[in-house]
Amino acid sequence: MRQVLEGSHAISEAARLARVQVVSGYPITPQTHIIEALSQHCADGTLAARFIPVESEHSAMSAVIGAAATGVRAFTATSSHGLALMHEMLHWAAAARLPIVMGEVNRALGPGWNIWMDQSDSLAQRDTGWIQLYCEDAQDALDTTLIGFRLAEAVNLPVMVIIDAFYISHTYEPVDVPEQAAVDRFLPPPNPRFRLDPADPKSLYPMVGPPAFMEMRRSLQDAMEVAEAALAQAAAAFKTEFGRSCPPIEADGCEDAEIVLVTTGSITSTARLVVEDLRARGERVGLCKLKLFRPFPAEGIRRVLGRAPRVAVIDRNVSFGVGGIFAQEIRSALCSLERRPPVFSYIVGLGGRDVPPETIAEIYRSTREAAAPDPESRWVGLNPELMGAAAR
């Protein structure tokens, strides 16, 4: 049934419908609403789960690692500095092959102290072995969370469901919330391939020396390599049950486009308006929405973007010393092609700076008019006065 929900609650509703059994959490803006709602569900009996309040995000992750090791469905959520504090345990959860699902609200890291939208927090965790799925709006967040549980349990890898601070987390909009019975069909109770069980005593994850460590890591890579196919299968099952698709990469009018815009997160939503408007004026512009970032869907990227004359990647993040992270990865995926499309890299909207349609339209124009991509990412909308002050 469609109802007006806050984006944070789209994720907590999905976790509730998934019948998670253990939830841990530590508050941090702008994530708190997710955990708050789940603790309320635990308290009022609308969710039969154990809520573990902890004293830090490191402990929040540790708690769900312990819970998942016993074979239960476990969930937590965090943001920004909280995710950074979890870093050590993120590696742990992945290498331990635990199907944890975590809501992650993109927010900048300080200083300057900033609670607003920025993808630097989640992208800094790209090498931890977590599957990363970026969401466009509240509906996407709910759907992706449900699919996330199925995917995590299929490949025994943890899944991060990522939404934009405020643009999604604190925005209310209509969301189709599925019936419990349908969710139960899509997501039966977990059937773990291993679990800690007092009836069969064992210890998990003792020391692994040089003779076996590489093989253990290779098996994690193998799991990542099948994760994209597993996601596609989960998404297909989701579409059968709920009628909505949730592809790793969504291509809209890319086949005959002169320029393809690549977006993630809530910018995709605004970009759809811009693309519609440009097409109405006769422009040949395509839109590529990237949902799956880890594992990186290189094959899909080559398929969607390989024949585009120009690609413009909009990054709401920066890897200092290199530039936009999505642009880098896309260039890397395309470089094996004989005829590589030029990739224009744009950095926008850091630390919550708004990205209105005009900014996206400007990126389009700039890509169309330039002779070739700049050697480095182009930062859009910098305030010249502040930059001048910085130079002094």
Binding site: R2, V4, P174, S269, T270, P356
Partner: protein, 187 residues
């Protein structure tokens, strides 16, 4: 698409009014989107909330810069906040005030006012220092815009308001009756 901006203070229920109105419009068949100004909320400090309504799915996910209408929950805010910032000509300015607002004399706007504070106190909503005026303002806005129908406002209030549901519904109804208008002045 219509964009409405709400001006209030932390603790006045400004964001809640915007959410409740979104649900009322949604019930009336609209697509909706509402969000607060992104930041930290502190009791008494100026806050803003935004509401978009449209007949088609709302894709736009950036700030509201040129609202069609504004709602001012506390007339004193007009001293410090430029409540007509970006307001489209012909837009409504609905203010919680016993009489027409003096500071907003710009002729290109339509003015509406309602003594939501007195209405709230008459329904014993909140306290004398912190009356809860948001439901009255919802009723006044419904009359001012001619939508949504009061039945949706009332139903949204009954669902959203945690206590004194009927008093809040009554406040909305009284405000709906009492709100007064000044049309766009002839040039």
């Amino acid at each position: 698409m219509l964009e409405i901006r709400f001006h209030g203070r932390g603790g006045q229920g400004t964001v809640l009014a915007s959410i409740s109105l979104a649900r009322a419009f949604f019930d009336a068949g609209w697509e909706v989107q509402t969000f607060p100004n992104f930041g930290v909320e502190r009791r008494g400090a100026p806050v803003e909330a935004y509401l978009r309504i449209d007949h088609a799915r709302i894709r736009l996910r950036s700030g509201v810069y040129t609202p069609d209408h504004v709602v001012v929950m506390d007339a004193k805010l007009t001293a410090t906040v430029e409540v007509t910032r970006g307001l489209k000509p012909g837009g409504w300015v609905l203010v919680n005030r016993p009489g027409p607002p003096e500071r907003i004399a710009l002729p290109q706007y339509r003015l509406a006012w309602v003594d939501a504070t007195a209405i709230a106190l008459s329904q014993r909503l909140g306290t004398a220092t912190h009356p809860i005026i948001n439901t009255a303002m919802m009723g006044a806005l419904a009359r001012t815009l001619g939508m949504p129908e009061m039945i949706h406002i009332e139903s949204a209030i009954r669902r959203e308001v945690p206590a004194k549901k009927e008093e809040n519904v009554a406040a909305a109804r009284i405000a709906f009756q009492q709100v007064q208008f000044r049309p766009v002045e002839e040039a």
